[in-house]
Symmetry: C2
Subunit: 429 residues, 2 copies
C-alpha cells in the first residue's frame, strides 16, 4: 500500500490533504473551529498542502458525501469529531459502513478505557465500553488523553484518519502518531518561511510597491499578505527538494523584499508590535508606562500579553474619568477646561504625568471619542489624540477613525504603539 501511494503522489509538486470536521456544534456557531487552523499549521510545516477544509453535521448522509468528495483528488483525509459516547456521535459506525468493515473490540483501547475510569474512580457503563470497539479494517491510533481511539484507514491508495474533536486529544494523536506515519508514507520537499511586519501602508499600496519583485518570484516561492490593524505581515513560503538551495533562495529574496519595504518595515521576523517594542526597550535597558483614556487598558493588555514584559513595562494609569487624569496623572484642571480631555495638551500632560508617577524612560498616552455616543461637531466620534514621550521629548499625532467602538479602540492602541516605536527609532534604539 505504501509503495502504491508514494508512486502515485510523489511526482506531484505538492502532497495534498483535506480536513473534515464533524459536529452540529460547528454549524450553529457554538464552537469556533480552532482544530483546523492547528492541523493546517502542522501539515504546512511538514510540507503537506491543505487543499480544503469542510465542516458537516452529525448526519450519515453528510459525512458520507464529505468522505466521497474530499477523497476524490486528495490522498490524505483527516477527520475530527463525532467519536464521543453519546447518541449524536455517529462518525465511527458511519466509517465502519463506509469501509465495509465490522465492529470488533480492540483490547488495547479497552484496557485504556478501563484504566481511565479506574483512575477517575468512576463505574464503567456499557456506553463507555463501546468506546473500545473499532472497525476491523482500521489500524488503531492510541489515545493517551481520552477514551476514544483514533483510526487509520487505507482505501484505494488514500489515507483516512479519524481523530476525536477534543483539541488536546487530537493534537496528541497528530504529534505522536499521524505526522510521523505520514512522513513515512510520502517523500516531502523541504519547506521554510520568511516573515516581516510593516506598519502604516495599506495592502494595496504595498502590493503596488513590490509588484515587480513579486512578479519575478520563482515558482517554488509564494508570497502571502496578512493585513491586520494598520499593519501588513508579508510571508514568503518556499519548498524545494534541496534544502541548501531553498535557504539561499529564501534569504536572497527576503533581502530584496526588506529593501523594497524599508520605509514601513517594523520587524524582519514573525513577532507582534508589542514584542518589537519590548525588544527595543530591553536591548536599550529602558522602561515603559502607559496612560490610557479612550483605549481603556487595551494598550496595557497588548503589552502584558507578551511573556516577560514585566522586565520593561511598569504599568498603566487608565484615567477614564477626568478626576483620575487630574488626581493621579496631574493633568491641569485648566488644560481639561480649555483644551478639553481629547486634546494635544491633555495627552502631553498625561505622558509627563505617567513618566513621573511610574518613573519610566518612555510613556505613551491616548485620549479620544470611541463612540457610539460622545461625539460633537468639533470632535466627532473617532477623534483621537496620541502622545509618545521620553523624559525630555514628546511627539503627538491626531487621528480620525470611523469604525465602531471596538475597532476604534484597537486601531488607537496599535497606532499609539507605533508612535512610540517611531520615537524610539528616532532616539536611536
Amino acid at each position: 500500500m505504501m509503495a502504491q501511494i508514494s508512486d502515485r503522489f510523489n511526482d506531484a509538486r505538492k502532497i495534498n490533504a483535506s480536513i473534515i470536521t464533524i459536529g452540529d456544534e460547528l454549524l450553529i456557531g457554538q464552537v469556533i473551529d480552532t482544530n483546523s487552523a492547528w492541523i493546517a499549521q502542522e501539515l504546512n510545516k511538514t510540507g503537506i498542502w491543505l487543499r480544503r477544509r469542510v465542516s458537516v453535521g452529525d448526519t450519515k448522509e453528510e459525512i458520507i458525501r464529505a468522505l466521497d468528495e474530499e477523497s476524490r483528488d486528495t490522498p490524505i483525509i483527516l477527520i475530527t469529531g463525532g467519536l464521543g459516547p453519546t447518541a449524536d456521535d455517529i462518525t465511527k459506525p458511519v466509517l465502519c459502513e463506509y469501509f465495509g468493515a465490522s465492529m470488533v473490540i480492540n483490547e488495547e483501547a479497552l484496557a485504556n478505557v478501563k484504566d481511565i475510569f479506574a483512575k477517575l474512580n468512576r463505574p464503567l457503563i456499557e456506553r463507555n465500553l463501546k468506546q473500545a470497539e473499532v472497525p476491523d479494517k482500521c489500524t488503531v491510533i492510541p489515545n493517551k488523553r481520552g477514551t476514544a481511539p483514533g483510526m487509520w484507514f487505507e482505501k484505494e491508495g488514500k489515507i483516512f484518519v479519524s481523530m476525536p474533536g477534543v483539541p488536546h486529544e487530537m493534537k496528541g494523536m497528530m504529534t505522536d502518531y499521524v505526522i510521523p506515519h505520514l512522513q513515512q508514507y510520502f517523500t516531502f520537499p523541504f519547506i521554510d518561511h520568511r516573515t516581516l511586519l510593516t506598519f502604516g501602508i495599506g495592502e494595496s499600496f504595498l502590493a503596488e510597491a513590490i509588484k515587480d519583485w513579486e512578479a519575478q518570484l520563482p515558482g517554488h516561492l509564494k508570497l502571502a499578505y496578512l493585513p491586520n490593524y494598520g499593519m501588513v505581515r508579508l510571508r514568503i513560503t518556499g519548498s524545494d527538494s534541496n534544502n541548501n538551495k531553498l535557504q539561499e533562495d529564501l534569504n536572497s529574496q527576503f533581502e530584496k523584499l526588506k529593501t523594497l519595504v524599508a520605509e514601513w518595515l517594523v520587524a524582519s521576523e514573525d513577532i507582534t508590535l508589542s514584542q518589537v517594542i519590548g525588544k527595543m526597550l530591553q536591548q536599550g535597558k529602558q522602561t515603559l508606562s502607559t496612560a490610557e483614556s479612550c483605549t481603556g487598558g487595551y494598550i496595557a493588555h497588548l503589552i502584558t500579553s507578551v511573556a516577560g514584559s514585566s522586565a520593561w513595562y511598569k504599568g498603566s494609569v487608565v484615567s477614564y474619568a477626568n478626576e483620575a487624569k487630574e488626581n493621579i496623572l496631574g493633568v491641569q484642571k485648566n488644560t481639561l477646561w480649555l483644551a478639553g480631555a481629547v486634546s494635544e495638551d491633555t495627552v502631553k500632560e498625561m505622558v509627563r504625568g505617567v513618566i513621573a508617577k511610574m518613573d519610566t524612560d518612555y510613556a505613551v498616552a491616548t485620549s479620544g471619542i470611541m463612540g457610539p455616543d460622545g461625539g460633537t461637531m468639533q470632535k466627532p466620534v473617532g477623534t483621537v489624540w496620541i502622545a509618545a514621550g521620553s523624559r525630555n521629548n514628546i511627539i503627538t499625532a491626531q487621528f480620525h477613525f470611523r469604525y465602531n467602538r471596538a475597532r476604534n479602540i484597537e486601531m488607537t492602541a496599535y497606532f499609539a504603539l507605533n508612535l512610540l516605536r517611531k520615537l524610539m527609532v528616532k532616539d536611536g534604539f
Copy 2:
C-alpha cells in the same frame, strides 16, 4: 426570481445555507476562521440551517468546484474572502466568469472608494479604483466599512452572496443587508430566542442538572449550550407559524429553566458579564475602579468595551511593577516583602488603595502568575489572588489556573468580575 425560490424551498422543514470561505491564509493555519461561527449564529437566529462550511484557497479551480458543490442542494451560498485589491484576491473575477458576466464600474462603490481615500488623505491608484468594479449580473451590497463592495447573485433559483473576509466589514453587510434581504426572499416561521448566562458550572454538569427538562422540550424549541471562560450561555430557540403560541411556549420553558439553574444564574438576557455589572452599578448610582497586576489592563478593557461605561467606571491602576503598587496604590512595602505580590494581603491593599485614589464605591484587584515563567514551588504558574471590595467590605478568592498565559489572563479577568458581582448581590444590588 423571488417567487421561484420561495415556491421551491418553503415546503422543506428547513432552509439550508452553506458557507464558502476563501483564502490561502485559512489553509496554512495563519488565521482562525471566526467568521463562519459568527455567520452560523446569525443564520441560526433567523431560522436558516447551516448545512456545510467549506474553506478553499485563492485558486480558480478550487473556488469553482466549491461553488458547484455547495449550490447543488443548497439555496443560499454565503462566500467570504478574496475581495482585496492584491493579485492573490481572485474571488471577484472568478465569480464574474462563473455567472457569465462582464466587469463594470459601479458608481456607488466608486464614490465610496473615493470618499474613503479622501478621508484618509491618500492618493487613489488604479488598483483601488478596481475595487469599484463589479460583475454586471450582481446586485451590489454597500460596504460602509471598507472599499470592497459585496455582491448578491441569483442563478437557477439559488442565491450567492460574496462578502469581504475582514470581520467587521462582513458583519456590517450581513446585519444591514444580507439577513434582511434573505428574510424577504423566504417565508420563515416566527423565530425567537430566550438567553440566560450562568457562571461557575461546567457544561457537562449543567447538562446533567437540566437533562429531564431538556428531554421534555417540545420539538419546535431547541436548546444550545454556549460555553466561554467559566460561563455557559443557554439559548432556547423556538420556531412556529403562530407567534403568540411561540412566545407563550418560550416564556413558560424559560421560567422553568431559570428555576433549575438559579444557583448559577447571572443574567436572564443576552448580555456580557461587564454589562451585568454596569447595570447594577448604574441602577444603584455606584462607581467602580480596578487595580490590576496580572490581568494587565484586561479587566479595564472588558469594562470600557461597554458603550457608556464612563458613567460608572472611573479607571484602573495597572500596577505591573511592585513600585506602582506601593507608590500609586499605597500597598505596604512590608506586605509585598512578607506575603508577596501574589497574596491575599496585597490584593486587599490594592482594593483599598484604588478606592481611595479613584474615589469609587467599588473596586476589584488581581495579582497572579500567568506564565510561562515566574512560577515557584509555593506559587506555581496559574496561582491567582483576587479581591473585590466596597468602602467597608472586602472579599477575596484564590484560584489555580493551568492554562497558557493568554487564557490565564482571560480566566482571571472573568472570575474577578464575577467576584465583584457576587459582592454587589450580597450588598443588595
